[in-house]
Amino acid sequence: MNKQVLSTSVSVGIATGLYGVSFGAIGVAAGLDVLSVMILSLLMFSGGSQFAFVGVLAAGGAPITAVTSAWLMGIRNSFYALRLTSVIGPRGLMKVLAAQLTIDESNAVSAAQSSSKDQKAGFWLTGVAVFVFWNLATLVGALAGNLMGSVEQWGLDAAAAAAFLGLLWPRLRESWQLALLGAAAAIATTPFLPPGIPILIAAAVAVIPLGGKK
């Protein structure tokens, strides 16, 4: 096994784990019980979707809006899966397992490797490492969240905003106009629409042909 791939995978796992504490704490602050927060990390297992889900609930949005936001946020995983099919070539039940581990991080580490053996190892190692650390961290955050008082006091709300900015950043070069429009649509409609709906409005903005043409 390539040691460099292993160390990259583990460090990515630890890094996302730290951010998982923030998710756990925000989840319970949004009014979910520890079990629900854990189901999100174990079963949904996609940071962007998870934060979208609890974010809508925390703002007082309807459950159906939370579900829709999380679902739309997860669409990119389909395209990682399409790319990874030829890289890792899972069969039968392995497809079910590979699908669960298909996230931003596992796809990115895999894509960064040069040999096909390392690409495969990068996917599985990172997927497992992130899964383990993310879930442990979520549990810590969810349990501590009840004890440590407000999410704001620890800056965890700002951490979540910064995390989304970090995911958006590499996409800005090609699609900054669209990002600007999505951001404007969300903030401009916030005072007038029920919580969560502005996020869906922003998603609808994506159909407007603007910038990022290839």
């Binding site: 974010g55 939370a66 995983n77 800056g155 649509a185 969300a186």
Partner: protein
Amino acid sequence: MILSVLIASIAVYSWKLLGYLIPERFITDKFRDFAERVTVSLLAAMVMIQGFTVTGEVVVDARLPALLVAALMLWMRAPYILVVIAGAAVAAGLRMLGL
């Protein structure tokens, strides 16, 4: 609420599994392009909602300087995790000072 949690989890998982089940030739460039665009506009919206609203109202507070510091660090190519930690630290610090 737990029912919504389960439905949402299955809905998100279905995207992942779908990618392994459908042959690539069925995916048009147009749809691929749309998926990338939805991701961009959703992420931008989440930055705004998470950064500048509180329960359905627009609020500017310690999260603004936190996001500015995060943007500066991203521009300087700092690792993702440091960006997230810095965002939390700036907001927590400013609030501790009563700002």
